[in-house]
Amino acid sequence: MSFDAHRCPNGHVTYPGHTRCPECGEEQTETIDLTERTGTVVTWTTSTATPPGVREPNHLAIVEFEIDGESVRALGQLTTAEGVEIGSEVEPVYEDELRDPEAGIREPASHEWDGYRFEPV
């Protein structure tokens, strides 16, 4: 699956995309692939009380990417919390199942379950 940020004609960038740009209300017309970029950890946590079908412990981070002077953030699983600090550099790595859709999910078809984790660089 893709890992795309979305940009409106006024240059505002969001992840995920929205029907209208939350900043200015314009339609978002452009996508920017984040998979080959490096981001910076804004903050992170290790969650030990996880829902059914979610790995335990679950390391999570909010990561910021810089795109042409605009910043955009994404929340995602970390491959490891080892050595991760605020400000650490990470890169996206593909994972085909981020949580088990057969465990406790009412309508597995309502979501896509693959995506990108963040790996410390």
Partner: protein
């Protein structure tokens, strides 16, 4: 203009209850009507604040069930779901019904039945409010709290102990609340040594999973005077939303929905943060008490933790926060919580709070849904 008054209020015992949501709602609703001496068939409107009775126990259509159980047939009914802020949103709906002239007597009952689910299941019902791009990573509301707490402690050089002190304070307050789920003091060491839930937050940084219900009875002030001298008025109320996708916020340590809902409530009440005598804040997680106490304007950004360290927010401090014990010790039955916050303001303003009584004529409640996604701020005052 006729102000909106609250002439009756109640809350059930919060905790691990045998009753299902319909019976919990009826218990609180019946008690609030009795508190004011109002009959069920006097109700024009009946609102139920509830997040997820369908998901938790397969019971839908609860407002109609409650109208039938309370003898309020003929009343206009509506369910209000605004996740954890369903109670605050219910207060807004009930206030609006009276302020608009549509109703001369409105009962609001908030309630939730949760404890029959495992912690993982209950946490996931709540996590279903998150955006799919966050949900698929297994994010939970507690993990948002961990992410935010790490950022806050780093940004403002706050010690980890300050979060533990919120838990200690609110548990101490809860000892004197007969309706609270936990009526037991907790020492700082226990809070700081408890198991990690979402690093750096530990078990005692989180509210429990709870069953319970609370109710408020609203009418125009001119009608209130026909029933009782013991009533309070809704002087200000505001609601606002923030991003659905939590990671899209520029500053993770500011809750814009709190800032904006408070601005509206202060303006309506012609009050400012300095006029507030005591407050009930949505301490679903200890870190949220810092964020709200700053975003409501009580303290500068990054200084909320110092107020807790200095005892300013203790029951005998200058600005008591969560005299009820907060969600932390009182419990957090989602749809009931915002209503129960206002119940605490009501009993404090009437001088009926017993051992936890504080002085004051202006109380504020801030009810937060999601992780600040939707917020209602309410100011109640003595008439």
């Amino acid at each position: 203009m006729d102000r909106v008054a609250i002439i009756g209020a109640s809350m059930t015992e919060f905790g691990d209850r045998d009753a299902w949501v319909r019976a919990l709602l009826a218990e609180a609703g019946d008690a609030a009507l009795r508190d004011a001496g109002v009959d069920g068939d006097d109700l024009d409107h009946l609102y139920v604040s509830n997040m997820a009775s369908g998901e938790f126990e397969g019971q839908t259509g609860v407002p109609n069930a409650l109208a039938h159980d309370l003898g309020a047939l003929g009343a206009y009914t509506q369910r209000v779901d605004q996740t954890s802020a369903s109670g605050g949103a219910g207060i807004y709906a009930a206030w609006q019904s009276v302020a608009s002239g549509a109703s001369d007597m409105t009962l609001l009952v908030g309630g939730e039945k949760m404890t029959h689910k495992t912690t993982g299941e209950a946490t996931d019902v709540i996590a279903s409010l998150t955006h799919p791009v966050e949900y698929k990573h297994g994010v939970t509301l507690p993990s948002f709290a961990g992410l935010t707490a790490r950022k806050y402690l780093d940004e403002y050089d706050a010690p980890r102990e300050s979060l533990g002190k919120v838990a200690v304070k609110n548990h101490r307050n809860g000892v004197d609340n007969p309706h609270a789920q936990f009526r037991k003091e907790v020492d700082l060491e226990t809070a700081l040594d408890s198991p990690i839930v979402a690093d750096p937050l530990r078990l005692y940084d989180f509210c429990p999973i709870t069953d319970g219900s609370a109710a408020l009875l609203f009418c125009p002030e001119s009608v209130a005077e026909q029933y009782t001298d013991d009533y309070v008025v809704v002087s200000g109320i505001g609601g606002a939303t923030d991003t659905h996708v939590v990671h899209e916020r520029d500053d993770p340590t500011t809750m814009r929905g709190v800032v904006e809902s408070a601005d509206i409530a202060y303006e309506m009440a012609d009050r400012g943060p300095e006029d507030v005598d005591f407050a009930e804040l949505h301490d679903m997680f200890t870190i949220l008490e810092f964020l709200q106490s700053e975003d409501l304007g009580f303290f500068e950004k990054g200084e909320g933790w110092k107020a807790v360290e200095d005892g300013v927010t203790d029951r005998d401090g200058d600005l008591p926060i969560n005299t009820s014990g907060g969600l932390k010790s009182k419990g957090h039955p989602l749809g009931a919580s915002g209503v129960a916050q206002a119940y605490e303001l009501y009993v404090q303003l009437l001088g009926d709070a017993g051992d936890r009584q504080v002085d004051g004529s202006v109380g504020l409640a801030c009810n937060v849904g999601g992780f600040g996604n939707c917020v209602t701020t309410t100011i109640l005052e003595q008439p």
